[in-house]
């Protein structure tokens, strides 16, 4: 045996020796890297194998027998027609076409949606179609067309309509049923679609268009929703997330449930939608824009345009939006439409734009309370947007203003005990505080709202509460009631944050809070949207608006209470009057003077569908009473006769059409009636639907990863111990 001294004999450093040493070092390094790569590869293969092995039953359960690519209902990004059958699994069949015809006259739109759907198979089917419509759509007509025959649907109480439909379905008659799931979400069911047959459903609705005045020019916008996509996906931090928002009244006929598996139609079969808009603004138009679709605009004089999609049709995967700006100086100060109703009353729709001059008067000092949602669901992009929006808002405060910031998750915290002057020091402090906010925890919104809405409402200040949230809450009704009770002289402005905020909640909360709703979808929109909101907030508003109707008339006007107006917002009133002449006088406090405007009923333009719009407004107002604690039975009793009289869709009334001649022979089977099946929904763009609670933890995942890591660590350790100090010397 040799001594260590022998082994450590060093040869004189020669360039040759050095080169060899370097070469060996390089080889060693490469070998080591290869080993590491192989280990990592082995690790991932093993991991993948285990995951695959354990997950097999899941994927096996999901693959459909048909060989179609399976469509998970959650993948649905658009309204889809589903057919239900006895023998075959349910699968989605595309509409052959959806045609949308929109006629705009001034502030009104009349839309006809034609859904043509076909049954490509040799069996009898029932089709169920879930689709979105604008939130304020007054659906007042439904027709079913089979070949040349047209069957006009009638409005019945929902339960009765369901019974009528069910009976027709069982006796083999063709029938159609249109139900309202949410104010902006509808279901069409069509029974007994014969083999290789087409049934056409036509529905019509009316709506008033969104109108804003931006920098002195009027801008209308029209939206036709098609997207039924983004919805809440419990993301990271879901352990602390409020999920399971349940809106009441989700009950639907069990018989109409559709069962999975649902099959993904081929790409080229996706619902094509054709949209045509015939636009008559009533005044000269400056510009027409469609931000999301390429359109072809044909000019027809100063006031009229015809708009069609450049590509002819589009897959229903994106909301269609159209905005048009009126030529400078031509924005009407008031528009009045009237229609005589069948009951002898006169229905009127009044849109009034307060004139701009009062914007130059001194602005009232404000007390602004910012409320920021820092719950777990805001984690990621959303909290970044919210922080940015808030910091920007803070910097825009005037030294005369007062402010406070409240953050809430599982509980709420305020920056100051009470609102403080917006001095540079305070603003700086607040901005720093906001930058440190992190999203985590629950969504206890009620406490924060209470805090924000409590405070001295001194008359010399405008009190504004600006609420930044994604609205991921389940107790909407409770919160609406709270806002209603506590509001006082404050105004609540909601700012929707994130890719899929619960805008149903936020719109309604702003409405209840007599403010407005702003939606920020992307970080780069923060600046533009917040500026818009702020120019609105900073402008002195028109308060205490009063409407004086012609003397001696009996009037039912909605909304009963007109909200305060901010810069660029019009007053929209729907009324039913018992006389057709006279003057309507509207007045409001504009800072230091009282603004008054008079419109003569005799100057009204003849409009159609005004009665429907009025009734829809009234139904909305009645439904809102649910928030203030009115029992549902009472509301239902008030809504049903009104909806039936005006032939309107509502939560309690549905359209039903039955073809008298039986179509399906008694011995031919229809889709399994008793089969409990499911319909995927939560499809609408605004994610008005809740979700079922999450029911799993990552504990197994951790267990697996932990186990694998432990094994590898042990293996590595053992190898290290066994390995002699120098393998090459041991040989």
């Amino acid at each position: 045996m040799n001594t260590t001294a022998d082994r450590t004999v060093r040869l004189p450093d020669s360039p040759h020796n050095k080169r060899i040493a370097r070469g060996q070092r390089l080889v060693d390094l490469i070998a080591y890297l290869l080993l590491m790569f192989a280990t990592a590869l082995g690790f991932s293969v093993a991991l993948g194998g285990v995951v695959l092995l354990l997950a097999t039953p899941a994927s096996a359960a999901q693959s459909a027998e048909t060989g179609f690519a399976e469509m998970k209902p959650a993948d649905a990004r658009q309204g889809t027609l589903l057919f239900r059958g006895d023998q075959v699994p349910s699968f989605a069949v595309p509409l052959l076409a959806t045609e949308v015809d929109i006629q705009v006259s001034g502030p009104l739109a009349h839309t006809r949606v034609v859904q043509t759907f076909s049954n490509p198979s040799d069996a009898w089917y029932e089709g169920i179609y879930v689709f979105p419509l604008p939130e304020n759509a007054a659906v007042n007509r439904l027709r079913m067309r089979i070949g040349q025959r047209v069957i006009e649907a009638e409005v019945q109480e929902r339960a009765q309509a369901q019974a009528t439909y069910r009976k027709a379905r069982e006796t083999g008659q063709r029938a159609a049923l249109l139900e309202q799931e949410r104010p902006n979400m509808f279901t069409t069911s069509v029974a007994n679609i014969g083999p290789r047959e087409q049934i056409v459903i036509e529905l019509e609705y009316r709506q008033t268009l969104d109108y804003r005045q931006v920098e002195g020019t009027g801008r209308y916008s029209l939206r036709f929703p098609m997207v039924v996509g983004p919805r809440y996906i419990p993301g990271a931090g879901a352990d602390d997330e409020e999920v399971g928002a349940v809106a009441a009244g989700a009950s639907v006929l069990d018989a109409l449930r559709i069962s999975p598996p649902v099959v993904r139609p081929d790409e080229h079969l996706l619902n094509p939608v054709r949209i045509r808009v015939s636009l008559d603004a009533g005044v000269p138009i400056a510009e027409v824009r469609s931000p999301f679709h390429a359109v072809q605009v044909i000019r027809d004089g100063e006031q009229r345009r015809k708009i069609t999609l450049s590509e002819g049709n589009t897959p229903a995967n994106r909301d269609f939006e159209l905005t048009w700006t009126l030529a400078a100086g031509s924005a009407p100060a008031a528009t009045l439409f009237a229609e005589p109703g069948e009951d002898g009353r006169q229905y009127a729709l009044l849109t009034l734009m307060p004139p701009a001059p009062f914007t130059t008067t001194a602005r009232l000092p404000r007390e602004v309370i910012f409320v920021i949602d820092t719950s777990g669901s805001m984690e990621g992009e959303s909290i970044v947007q919210a922080r940015e929006a808030l910091a920007m808002a803070l910097r825009r405060l005037d030294p005369a203003d007062r402010f406070n910031v409240i953050e809430f998750n599982s509980d709420s915290r305020a920056l100051f005990d009470s609102a403080q002057a917006a001095s540079d020091g305070n603003i700086h402090h607040a901005v720093r505080w906001v930058e440190r906010l992190r999203a985590n925890g629950g969504t206890e919104m009620a406490g924060a709202l209470k805090k924000a809405l409590t405070g001295d409402a001194s008359s010399d200040r405008v009190r504004q509460v600006i609420f930044l949230t994604d609205g991921a809450v389940g107790n909407e009704q409770e919160l609406f009631a709270l806002i209603q009770q506590r509001l006082g002289a404050s105004r609540l402005f909601t700012v929707g944050i994130g890719s899929a905020p619960n805008s149903h909640f936020m719109r309604k909360a702003a409405e209840t809070g007599r403010g407005s709703f702003t939606y920020i979808g992307k970080v780069d929109e923060v600046k533009a949207r917040m500026s818009e909101l702020f120019s609105r907030l900073e402008a002195p508003m028109l308060k205490n608006i009063e409407v004086r109707w012609p003397a001696g008339s009996t009037v039912e006007a909605w909304p009963a209470h007109i909200p305060d107006l901010y810069l660029g917002e019009p007053v929209v009133i729907a009324a039913a009057l018992d006389i057709a002449v006279g003057k309507i006088e509207i007045s409001g406090d504009a800072g230091d003077f009282r603004w008054t405007s008079t419109v003569s009923l005799g100057d009204a333009n003849a409009g159609t569908g005004i009665g429907s719009l009025w009734a829809r407004q009234k139904i909305d107002a009645l439904m809102d009473r649910l928030n203030s604690g009115t029992p549902e039975d009472e509301v239902r009793a008030a809504v049903i006769p009104l909806a039936i009289e005006h032939q309107l869709m509502s939560r309690y009334t549905s359209f039903v059409a039955v073809d008298r001649t039986p179509a399906r022979p008694a011995d031919a089977a229809l889709d399994g009636g008793a089969m409990p099946t499911k319909l995927p929904h939560g499809w609408n763009y605004e994610a008005v639907f809740g979700e079922l609670p999450r029911g799993a933890t990552d504990s197994r995942w951790h267990l697996l990863l932990g186990g694998i890591a432990l094994l590898l660590s042990l293996a590595l350790w053992v190898t290290l111990r066994r390995q002699p100090t120098n393998p090459s010397l041991a040989r």
Binding site: L54, I233, H702, S713, T725
Partner: protein, 230 residues
């Protein structure tokens, strides 16, 4: 001095005896010390990797253990709150900072399963026990009561529940309602129809994630067990 003395290591396994006849530098090999030094960084890296893996393993196992421990330990604390509830205390909190309270006790005698149901079905709550979903009928009352829980903790037993199985539910009032399982199905998480409040009878809807043996949480499917009053 012997020429061989000049040789580097005659006891060396690779010593062929010729090195000394021609002790060229190239054939002298590298002194051992240098070899050892050169291998040290690699060995150290491997040791660090082993250690990192061990720490990762501990962390993951800890996470898994924490989730399970939280689920089972909370039930012990809730048992106490439940007995206070039965004595008439309203919203008895199992621990002082809890934002939930027991509303019922669920038993499935055939599967030896038992759990206290908490108020609220948020992720926070169901980490501790099955959660009753606000907005649905209170457990034991007329209407559809919806309860959600994790498939790998409190509701793991749901995978073995079959139609006709008996479910017993003790209410806050001290009564016991007996249900029979009438249906089991798999639905998408967006399918809120199972939450429908149409019925006039007592119904119980138990919801958990599906598939039961999936590794990760967050899948879109839910397993729904419906039971009607027996």
């Amino acid at each position: 001095m012997n020429t061989n003395d000049f040789c580097h290591d005659r006891g060396y396994a690779e010593f062929l005896g010729v090195e000394c006849a021609w002790p060229a530098n190239a054939n002298l090999g590298t002194p051992r010390a240098e070899l050892v030094r050169r291998h040290t960084p690699a060995r150290r890296l491997a040791a660090i990797a082993a250690l990192t893996l061990a720490v990762t393993a501990c962390w993951h196992l800890g996470q898994a253990g924490y989730i399970q421990a939280k689920a089972w330990f909370a039930q012990v604390l809730i048992a106490d709150a439940w007995s206070r509830t039965l004595e008439g205390e309203r919203e008895a909190r199992p621990w002082p900072w809890a934002d939930t309270w027991p509303v019922a006790r669920l038993r499935v005698p055939g599967r030896h399963a038992e759990a206290y149901v908490l108020a609220g079905a948020s992720g926070r709550t169901i980490a501790f026990g099955p959660g009753y979903m606000f907005g649905t009928a209170l457990p034991g009352e007329r209407g559809n009561s919806v309860i959600g829980a994790h498939r790998d903790t409190h509701f793991a037993f749901l995978q073995w529940v079959r139609n006709g199985d008996l479910i017993e539910l003790d209410t806050q009032g001290g009564t016991t309602v007996r249900y029979r399982v009438s249906n089991t199905e798999v639905v998408d998480k967006s399918d809120t129809r199972v939450l429908a409040q149409g019925s006039r009878t007592r119904e119980l809807t138990l919801i958990t994630c599906y598939p039961f043996n999936a590794l990760k949480a967050g899948g879109p499917l839910r397993y729904v067990v419906t039971a009607r009053e027996a």
